[in-house]
């Protein structure tokens, strides 16, 4: 009938129509359907600086190694409290300009960590700036590229109050009369990274992660980001420490001079009464003159997790102080909440 072996026109038309039809079903229609997505009520818009930062992010191909999607499987719950949903991308995935389309942020490879929630995980600007100047200043094993061209070397005498000076360690920059000053490009980029925080969903329903075998065996319902895991077994403080704290305080507890204070030998860490230490973790800290501010972790870590981390910190690198219990953390948390309410 169609005589495809001999009728060229029919052959070409049929393959065109077939492919275009299938493409409509599998690509164009679903894409149009996703246009209807609305942002979450609490979702903040990107500021101009953050948007410029996003452009820098795309221009340098960051998405090649960093994903921005928390999948709905349990192994991804270290990257966010809940699986990502289409609304999360409402503001960031708009067309960039006439020449460039909506940025591909979800990514297909995780050579570096997922960044969905990096604004909560790494809130400190100073950490990000050091990390951008050369990732190995803060994470020795990192294979991420360095971006020194986003910084300027400025003579010490020329540095003004408006300049953001980055305390790069000597091994990485050894010119005593010069200072490393962040250019607007990198400040915007960091502003964008700091803005990456998962928005709370309205209402009690949170989409769940598909559990993996471990939780299934223990019969626990793997609730995403649950802060009240009272039945959970003893947590591994060392592991939690390297996930949450080591980026700044370093794996060996020594910190980085001029940026992040050491925990090894610290008076606060060795104090018999852990109250101040717990407060710092819950609320953040900005009282040490030679170091950058520490962001609060009260929302991210459960009482048990904080207790496990502090116990690890208080018994490592030569530190010698009694263990911390979840009860103690809970008490301090309540105290802090009461103070804030007043």
């Amino acid at each position: 009938m169609l005589d495809l072996h001999k009728n060229l026109k029919n052959l070409v038309l049929l393959s065109f129509i077939g492919f275009a039809g299938l493409s409509t079903i599998v690509a164009i229609i679903p894409a149009y359907q996703l246009e209807d997505v609305q942002p979450l009520p609490d979702e903040p818009k990107l500021t101009q600086n953050q948007r410029d930062g996003l452009n820098t992010y795309i221009a340098n191909g960051c998405a090649a190694c960093h994903t921005q999607q928390v999948r709905n499987i349990e192994m991804d719950n270290m990257w966010g409290k809940r699986p990502s949903i289409p609304s999360d991308y409402y503001y960031s995935k708009q067309r960039m300009d006439l020449w460039r389309q909506s940025p591909s942020l979800l990514g297909s490879e995780r050579t570096g960590p997922d960044l969905t929630n990096v604004g909560n995980r790494q809130a400190a600007q100073q950490w990000h700036l050091l990390h951008m100047y050369n990732p190995r200043t803060v994470v020795k094993e990192s294979v991420m590229p360095a971006y020194p061209w986003m910084f300027e070397e400025v003579d010490s005498s020329m540095v003004t109050d408006n300049d953001v000076v980055v305390p790069v360690p000597k091994e990485f920059f050894d010119k005593p009369h010069l200072k490393i000053v962040a250019k607007p490009e990198v400040l915007n980029l960091v502003a964008y990274l700091q803005s990456l925080k998962q928005t709370e969903l309205p209402g009690p329903q949170t989409p769940k992660f598909i559990p993996s075998i471990k939780e299934a065996a223990q019969g626990a319902t793997a609730e995403a980001g649950s802060k009240s895991g009272s039945t959970a077994p003893a947590l591994d403080g060392a592991k939690l420490f390297s996930q949450t704290c080591a980026a700044c305080h370093q794996q060996n507890g020594q910190g980085l001079p001029g940026a992040f204070p050491p925990l090894a030998g610290s008076d606060i860490a060795n104090d018999k009464d852990p109250k101040l230490m717990i407060e710092i973790v819950l609320q953040g800290y900005n009282s040490l003159p030679n170091y950058g501010p520490m962001p609060p972790f009260g929302d991210q870590l459960s009482d048990e997790e904080i207790a496990a981390i502090l116990t690890h910190e208080r018994s490592s690198w030569g530190n010698d102080a009694p263990a911390v219990t979840a009860e103690e953390v809970k008490k301090v948390r309540e105290f802090v909440a009461r103070e804030a309410a007043q």
């Binding site: 495809l4 001999k6 060229l8 052959l11 070409v12 393959s15 065109f16 077939g18 492919f19 275009a20 299938l22 493409s23 599998v26 164009i28 679903p30 894409a31 149009y32 246009e35 795309i58 221009a59 340098n60 191909g61 998405a63 994903t67 999948r71 192994m75 699986p83 289409p86 999360d88 991308y89 409402y90 995935k93 708009q94 067309r95 460039r100 389309q101 909506s102 940025p103 591909s104 942020l105 979800l106 297909s108 490879e109 050579t111 050369n134 994470v139 094993e141 990192s142 294979v143 590229p145 360095a146 020194p148 061209w149 598909i210 559990p211 075998i213 471990k214 299934a216 592991k239 996930q243």
Partner: protein, 602 residues
């Protein structure tokens, strides 16, 4: 063939059930952690499929044998009848003849006589009597030069030449990127930073090397199978210039930090990609008009694939760059669709078209089954188109879209097995040629990778395996297995089989061998290191170890990858030299060894 199709269908149904079972939220997360190294599963599945294919071949064989036996029986029957019907005198003369035949003896001079061996007309090109060289089979020479119109020859060579330039350039970049995994502080130049160079590597080898080589090779196929001249050489040149221009400008933009949004293979901004699309349209018009005035009634199956690949890719590019439905996750739906179809509808479809011509022509026999080729064609369109979203499994994209992608990924077994069977059956009976030809090993490796790479891709799409492998370096291994193992090896096979026929000049066999083995061993090292490393990385994530540990554990595997990559890169330099030695103009066509000639004439 009906039986074969039935087997395929059963396999398809069984597998879809298996794959969708993974969709059920609580099932099947149990088996996989208790059996760490999901490789086992995959190996088993692959073995099963190998066995299935072998069984199918054996079955087919026995069918054919039975049919032949019946033919023999029928002939015997006929002979018996004839004998019974013979007359007396007839029988006598037959017996007389038989007596004579039994007494016959050879005189010993039937073949040669006792003349001197002389080559008066200079027909002997080369005498190889060297007992010092027993290591390798002397490879068969390509059949003598074809009579090809000079402009066609020129255009094919220019396409291949520029393609090879981009191959060397693109893999230099790739090699450099591989080294950056070990020495991230190699340079601190913005234009050379990892994130900017990575798309330069992928886009150059895609749009520069593979696309140009494919189109160049196809110009010959189109003209040859239509038994006519190319519609317009001018259009062919425009296409060549446009593609080269778009790759050059595109790379320039990428290194300057101008890209379309970071979606893989969609990094060129539209003003650049439109040049490439224009080249596609021009090439399509040129091919279409050439095929339209063919001097044979039928459209050879190669041309189905070539024309369709051009239409499909044009449609694909338009859909990918069309702005109205791409805010939010709409972009991601299109990205999954595009990055998969870019490979499936352009590189794979087009390359299949090339195999359907070059494989049988270099074996000097017809393709095994024309209808299998047609079946593979339509199923390629149906199944490949639907599976893009399998790059975003467990993502916030609609669950139904993910499930469709997984089911149709399983369906990919149909075109893949149909194609592989067709090619292997075409090669069947010519296996001895492999040791005698420098073209066939490339074809064989390409075809085997077509099966292994594609099946592996389908298996990887299951939610189950996706759990472990997604986001790891395993993906990089897979894409090299397919783009390199399939596409590059087939393109090399085609180039080595056609260029000597165009120019009458063959490459040095040692160098072709070096190219083959370096590329093959390099690819294997590359693949295995990333597959093993990627699996360990996935398992480390599943165990909830801190992320940085997965970086540390990858370091030795990245080193091995760089070793493999270096071998591949080296093979490309050799290939470039081989192409040069085939295409250069200086020496006259005769390739006879002067020494042997003087020996003979002396």
């Amino acid at each position: 063939m009906r039986k074969g199709n039935y087997t395929l269908l059963t396999a398809f149904i069984l597998l879809s059930e298996y794959a969708t079972a993974q969709g059920n939220e609580t099932v099947s997360t149990e088996n996989w952690l208790t059996s760490p190294g999901i490789i086992g599963t995959i190996v088993l599945i692959l073995i099963v499929f190998f066995v299935a294919v072998i069984i199918m071949l054996v079955k087919l064989n026995s069918y054919i044998e039975k049919y032949k036996d019946r033919q023999v029986l029928r002939k015997n029957e006929e002979l018996r009848k004839e004998l019974i019907d013979l007359e007396e005198s007839g029988i006598d003369s037959l017996l007389e003849q038989r007596k004579k035949a039994l007494k016959y003896k050879l005189s010993g001079e039937e073949l040669g006589g006792n003349h001197l061996a002389l080559d008066k007309k200079g027909l002997v090109g080369k005498v190889e009597g060297d007992p010092q060289n027993p290591m390798f089979d002397e490879k068969k020479r390509a059949t003598p030069q074809l009579h090809v119109p000079e402009p066609l020859k020129k255009i094919v060579l220019y396409y291949l030449g520029t393609a090879t330039f981009w191959l060397v350039f693109g893999t230099t970049v790739g090699e450099y990127l591989g080294m950056k995994f070990m020495w991230p502080d190699m340079d601190h130049v913005s234009w050379l930073s990892f994130g900017r160079l990575r798309p330069v590597h992928t886009n150059t080898v895609f749009w520069g090397w593979a696309s140009l080589a494919m189109i160049g090779l196809a110009y010959f196929v189109i003209a040859r199978t239509s038994n006519t001249k190319i519609h317009s050489y001018k259009l062919a040149w425009y296409g060549l210039i446009l593609i080269n221009l778009s790759v050059f400008l595109g790379n320039w933009c990428l290194m300057a930090g101008i890209n379309n949004g970071g979606g893989e293979y969609r990094e060129y901004i539209w003003p650049v990609m439109i040049l490439f699309a224009a080249a596609l349209v021009i090439t399509f018009i040129n091919f279409y008009k050439t095929v339209a005035r063919r001097k044979v009634p039928e459209i050879y199956v190669s041309n189905w694939y070539l024309l369709a690949a051009l239409i499909w890719t044009t449609v694909l590019t338009v859909i990918a760059y069309w702005p109205t439905y791409q805010s939010g996750l709409g972009e991601t739906v299109i990205q999954g669709y595009y990055m998969h179809q870019g490979v499936g509808m352009w590189f794979m479809t087009f390359t299949l078209g090339l195999i359907y011509y070059y494989l049988p022509s270099s074996l000097n026999k017809p393709i095994y089954s024309y209808s299998l080729g047609v079946l593979a064609f339509w199923t390629q369109m149906l199944f490949y188109t639907m599976i893009g979203t399998h790059h975003f499994i467990f993502s916030p994209l609609p669950w139904w879209l993910q499930t469709v992608a997984i089911i149709f990924s399983v369906g990919m077994f149909i075109p893949v097995i149909a194609g592989t069977t067709n090619f292997l059956m075409t090669m069947r009976g010519s296996w001895s040629h492999i040791s005698k030809s420098y073209v066939l090993p490339f074809f064989l490796v390409g075809v085997i990778f077509y099966f292994v790479g594609s099946s592996q891709g389908s298996v990887q799409a299951f939610r189950f395996t996706n759990y472990v492998w997604h986001f790891t370096d395993f993906n990089v291994a897979h894409s090299h297995m397919t783009m390199y193992g399939i596409i590059c090896f087939i393109l090399w096979a085609c180039i080595y089989s056609i260029v000597p026929k165009l120019t009458g000049r063959e490459p040095k066999q040692v160098w072709v061998g070096a190219h083959f083995w370096l590329a093959f061993i390099g690819l294997f090292a590359y693949m295995m290191s990333l597959m093993v490393g990627g699996t360990l990385k996935g398992l480390s994530w599943l165990d909830g170890h801190p992320f940085i540990e997965s970086v540390i554990l990858m370091k030795p595997y990245w080193a091995w990858r760089a070793v493999g990559g270096s071998l591949m890169f080296l093979s490309h330099l050799i290939f470039a030299y081989n192409l040069y030695s085939m295409a250069r103009k200086s020496k006259p066509v005769t390739d006879a060894h002067p020494i042997s000639v003087t020996k003979i004439t002396a």
